[in-house]
């Protein structure tokens, strides 16, 4: 019988536990395995079909499967199943994995699987001749071959405790934490371990000390045994019997912990489910005595353990039964960036900068304000405040945020006939989803549709900055050959004013500290309306100039306001406001469930000539 794992053992790993898998790969790498020890990951809820890992300095991909069957069938070379599922799923996944002939060794980490299910799992494993390690364990390690998940701890600890190459001790423990401790003691006082198993602290482990010791008896690399048991159960007696019967012959250092139990009230449950003596036989003292009587090297207490291991090891050296070779040159594993960064030993330049919000702490913040302290009405923050925090990184006074909200409400919709809303409806009727429909509406926003806010702000501000008279401004625009953005309405006039504009102006007059640009725009309006009645300051124009007045009053510099205009910040108010309308149109279409829209032919002027044939003309 060989060791539990060989350098060719390959595992299917249930659960995408990136850290544990990476440790296995790192371990394989320093052991100079030919290929990674994990060949497949099973993770039903995983979105991706591969996961990146490092193998030494390079990256490798390990496939992720949704089911055990898929993984086992795709990887007939896998002989181990490492189950890192929670206690709720560990049972069914282990039972499933045992159905596959290629899976010979299974390991289950979950603690808290119901005992009956565990017993069914254990009995099934025995019936099918599978080696089951666990549940409730960190598993096993065969130095130089494979380790399961986290056993052995960090890669630095593995090197320090010589777990990367075979020593001469065969180690079995209940506890996973103490497994590491023992490996450390054995590396200090001996030459490390040849193989080791933590059988787990549950009441019904899949394999017990004797299963592993009998295998190790036949493994010539193992020269002596180290056993760490604990109060509860009778597994140590199997080992005692095996010595009496001569099935085990190698020297053994053994100790059972939990001698304290005799001093404690029977109500104390130790950390391990199995660590409770149900009869005198199961006490640590009784088991230690039985082992001592059978000739085991049993230390008086845990403090004596190192000395006893040292004596046993040195005795074997003296008898020339041990000659472990030291492999000193370990392949280097590059340090993980994340670990190095945590310790402040590396730095790197970032590719992105964010100055408006932060999701790294307990709670995401908008410009430093936690969401919970601005979301609900009693916080005094409205949607206008959220906009100014995220767009301008400032909290504006109430007159300004009220104005912003007024703007949004004013521009939210303008009926189904305007290009954006029409687009939205047509797209929605083509059967597209809400986002696609709304986006087609948004894509229509530009210089001709909705874009006049930007333009109005830009040109009126230019005129004011240049101190052009109203007439001079009109002439300037005329020379440019462009209509004045923000001026003109289809039907409204000075006599029949646009009430939306009226309301905006009244609000600004009542609440803004000053409205210089609005006043300038209204002077211009006087000039334009003298030419044509409907060339009034329209909503776009009013919004555009009032936003500039708002920023002026808030103390923004000319340069800052120009930058806002250039970056499209004014247009943004229209985009945001009108999105509300577009969503309304898209939802309306979904409700109405109208068929695909096809334009009436009689509404199209067809003027199609036969295409001209192009010929190559030699110059």
């Amino acid at each position: 019988m060989s060791a539990l794992f060989t350098p060719d053992s390959k595992a299917i790993f249930w659960n995408n536990n990136v850290k544990a898998i990476q440790r296995m790969l790192d371990y394989g790498y320093i052991c100079r395995r030919e290929s990674p020890s994990v060949v497949a990951i099973v993770h039903p809820s995983s979105q991706s079909s591969v996961q990146k890992f490092f193998y030494g300095p390079h990256e490798v991909l390990i496939p992720i499967y949704k089911t055990i069957s898929d993984a086992a069938e795709a990887h007939p070379e896998a002989d181990c199943f490492l189950n890192f599922a929670s206690f709720r799923t560990a049972w069914e996944t282990t039972m499933k994995a045992m159905e596959f002939n290629n899976i010979k060794t299974l390991m289950v980490t979950a603690e808290g699987i119901p005992e009956r299910l565990t017993r069914i799992m254990v009995a099934t494993a025995r019936k099918k001749g599978k080696m089951l390690v666990g549940p409730s364990t960190v598993g096993a390690i065969t130095p130089g071959a494979l380790k399961t998940g986290n056993i052995g701890g960090t890669i630095e600890n593995i090197a320090k405790t010589k777990l990367h190459r075979p020593g001469s001790a065969g180690l079995v423990t209940k506890s996973g934490g103490l497994f590491n401790e023992l490996a450390n003691i054995i590396s200090i006082n001996g030459d490390g371990i040849a193989e080791g198993v933590a059988v787990g602290g549950d009441r019904y482990p899949g394999s017990i000390f004797i299963d592993h010791l009998l295998r190790m008896e036949k493994n010539p690399t193992v020269k002596y045994f180290v056993l760490l048991g604990e109060v509860g159960g009778t597994d140590e007696y199997d080992v005692v019997e095996a010595y009496k019967e001569g099935k085990l012959t190698k020297p053994i250092v053994a100790l059972c912990t939990g001698t304290v139990a005799k001093h404690l009230s029977s109500g104390v449950q130790f950390g391990h489910a199995g660590a409770k003596a149900n009869s005198d036989l199961e006490t640590a003292d009784a088991k230690n005595k039985a082992m001592k009587d059978a000739g085991f090297n049993v230390p008086d207490n845990f403090n004596e353990f190192p000395v006893m291991i040292k004596d046993t090891y040195e005795d074997l050296v003296a008898k020339n039964q041990v000659s472990a070779e030291e492999i000193s040159d370990l392949p280097e594993i590059p340090e993980d960036y994340s670990a190095a960064k945590k310790e402040g030993r590396v730095r790197k330049q970032t590719n992105f900068i964010c100055t408006i919000s932060d999701d790294r702490g307990d709670e995401a913040v908008y410009a430093g304000v936690p969401i919970s302290s601005l979301a609900t009405p009693e916080t005094g923050y409205g949607i206008g405040d959220v906009i100014t925090l995220l767009w301008f990184k400032k909290r504006y006074p109430k007159w300004a945020t009220d104005f912003i909200e007024t703007v949004l409400k004013t521009v939210a919709d303008h009926g189904p006939a305007v290009s954006g809303a029409h687009n939205t409806r047509v797209t929605s009727r083509a059967g597209k989803d809400l986002v696609s429909s709304v986006v087609t509406g948004l894509l229509a926003i530009g210089p001709r549709f909705g874009g006049a806010i930007d333009g109005a702000a830009k040109y009126f501000k230019y005129g004011a900055d240049q101190q052009l008279s109203a007439r001079g401004f009109v002439n300037y625009m005329k020379e440019k050959g462009e209509p004045i953005p923000g001026i003109g309405h289809r039907i409204k006039s000075l006599k029949n004013p646009d009430l939306r504009v009226k309301a905006l102006i009244e609000y600004a007059k009542a609440n803004f500290p000053s409205t210089d640009l609005l006043d300038y725009a209204r002077e211009i309006e006087q000039v334009t309306t003298s030419k044509k009645d409907t060339l009034i300051l329209n909503v776009d124009g009013a919004v555009g100039v009032l936003l500039v007045d708002m920023w002026n009053a808030l103390g923004y510099s000319d340069a800052e306001i120009d930058q806002m205009i250039d970056s499209g910040a004014l247009n943004a108010f229209f985009v945001l406001g009108r999105t509300i309308g577009f969503i309304g149109h898209a939802l309306d279409e979904k409700r109405l469930n109208m068929p695909l829209y096809r334009h009436e032919l009689d509404d199209i002027l067809y003027d199609v000539d036969v295409a001209e044939e192009m010929t190559v003309r030699v110059k």
Binding site: A20, S86, F87, R88, E111, G112, I113, P114, E115, R116, R119, I120, V122, A123, R126, K127, V138, G149, N150, I151, G153, T154, N157, K160, T161, T173, S175, G176, G177, L178, F179, N180, E181, N184, I185, G201, R203, V231, T257, G258, T259, V260, H263, L264, S265, S266, G267, Q269, F270, G271, H272, A273, A275, K276, A284, N301, F302, N303, P306, A339
Partner: protein, 436 residues
């Protein structure tokens, strides 16, 4: 998480509630039983349940311990069997609950719960025994025609039936039916009962179920005494079946303290493991040990060096708890530890121990410990606390460095060791310092 005893009352409720599903209506079991803490509660119960007003009651403590008969803790007669009245029962409950009592095995404690049932006249020959327990590979049914208080002495009359854990229902049924002892008169009825109880034992995740004795009269079964343990890890599967059954603390142990309850709740919510048992709040040695295995070794070593009575608490945290969890865990221990000075004027010892962790992040778990230390430093300085640390594992260098720096800043005396020092050496070091 493990096998936990439940009240006799709850066990009987559970079995009788599912009686028709498992045993069927060919046998009848009348569940007449009340559970009370005081005689006044019994009085209240008697207003709703008239049978309590008829003479012929049986009163027993329901405190998870056995051998109640031998301990003279079953009231079934004043002068003749079956003559116990409501007034007698109330008087008896009062007498038994107001004083601490000692059992034959030396355990001492208070009786806090009593179960009251109707007296069932029967002869000793009618008392049968049946129990089910779990072993690794088999469920074991033990059955005897000689049930009753002397079952242990009569163990040679017990037939044990080993039912392999992978048995199909039918195989199990045949095994059970083929081994009902000949001494049992009502073979068919007992067979039906045994087969049904076994299914219930299995399906409901019992770890142990014992009826001793039960009595058959015609087609009526009297469950005179019942003991049961459930496997509490199955709780998530049994929410409906168990109906929120409680796992009370046993005789001799007060209920969980507030602090123990707090940690139990923390543990239930966490993916990590957090355990705390207060052993002696006046003990001088307090532990904050990582790992189910290491915590036992530390407890052993402290008991060997300082004596078990000086061990203030048993506990462990493991499975990579987060910083917040270790903060609350540590805070709980530090709070208990700093409530009063040591009686003998000694410094208290705080052992922050652990093996070389496999995957628990030492730096982040220690961060929580440090936060709690910062909070409790003034109290710790006031009562005098000497700290000893030994730990290894992922990021242990940072963890050890941080705790050392923090303790120095807080003016708390501390000794810090890593994996180069044998795990439990800090116990001896602490002892030497204390004696110096």
């Amino acid at each position: 998480m493990a096998q936990r005893g439940i009240l006799e009352y709850d066990a009987k409720s559970l079995v009788t509630r599912l009686w028709n599903d498992y045993i069927g209506d060919s046998l009848i079991c009348n569940f007449r039983s009340v559970l009370v803490e005081t005689e006044d509660e019994l009085d209240t119960a008697a207003k709703a349940q008239d049978w309590l007003n008829q003479p012929g009651l049986v009163v027993k403590p329901d405190m998870l311990f056995g051998k109640r008969g031998k301990n003279n803790l079953v009231l079934y007669k004043t002068t003749t069997a079956g003559d116990v009245s409501l007034a007698d029962a109330k008087k008896w409950i009062h007498e038994k609950r107001i004083n601490e009592i000692a059992l034959l095995n030396g355990e001492k404690g208070w009786l806090r719960r009593f179960i009251i049932e109707p007296f069932v006249p029967h002869s000793i020959e009618q008392e049968y025994y049946i129990s089910f327990r779990s072993e690794t590979e088999n469920d074991v049914m033990a059955i005897s025609a000689c049930g009753g208080v002397d079952i242990e002495e009569n163990w040679d009359t017990v037939t044990e039936v080993f039912i392999p854990v992978l048995s199909e229902d039918k195989e199990a049924k045949n095994l059970i039916l083929s081994q009902i002892p000949d001494e049992i008169q009502e073979r068919n009825a007992v067979g039906t009962l045994a087969v049904g109880l076994y299914s219930l034992f299995k399906d409901l995740h019992f770890a142990y179920l014992e009826l001793n004795p039960f009595v058959i009269e015609g087609n009526t079964i009297h469950l005179l005494d019942m003991v049961a343990k459930l496997d509490d890890t199955a709780g998530y599967l049994m929410q409906e079946e168990w109906q929120g059954i409680e796992f009370p603390s046993g005789f001799g142990r007060a209920g969980l303290t507030k602090e123990e309850k707090f940690i139990t709740e923390l543990d239930e919510k966490s993916g990590a493991s957090l355990k705390l048992t207060i052993l002696n709040p006046k003990g001088v040695v307090w532990t904050l040990v990582a790992g189910g295995g290491a915590s036992v070794v530390f407890a052993d070593t402290i008991a060997n060096t300082w004596g078990a009575n000086e061990l203030a608490n048993y506990g462990e945290y493991s499975g990579n708890p987060n910083t917040e969890e270790t903060y609350y865990y540590t805070k709980t221990v530090l709070d208990l530890m700093t409530r009063e000075k040591d009686d003998k004027g000694r410094n208290k010892i705080l052992l922050i121990g652990g093996a070389i962790a496999n995957f628990t992040d030492v730096a982040s778990t220690f961060k929580g410990i440090i936060q709690a230390m910062e909070e409790y430093a003034p109290k710790m300085r006031e009562i005098g606390v000497q700290i000893y640390v030994r730990r290894g594992g992922p990021n242990y260098e940072i963890g050890l460095r941080n705790i050392k720096t923090a303790a120095k800043k807080l003016k708390l005396p501390i000794d810090v060791y890593g994996p180069e020092t044998h795990m439990t050496d800090i116990v001896a070091i602490a002892m030497e310092d204390a004696n110096a």
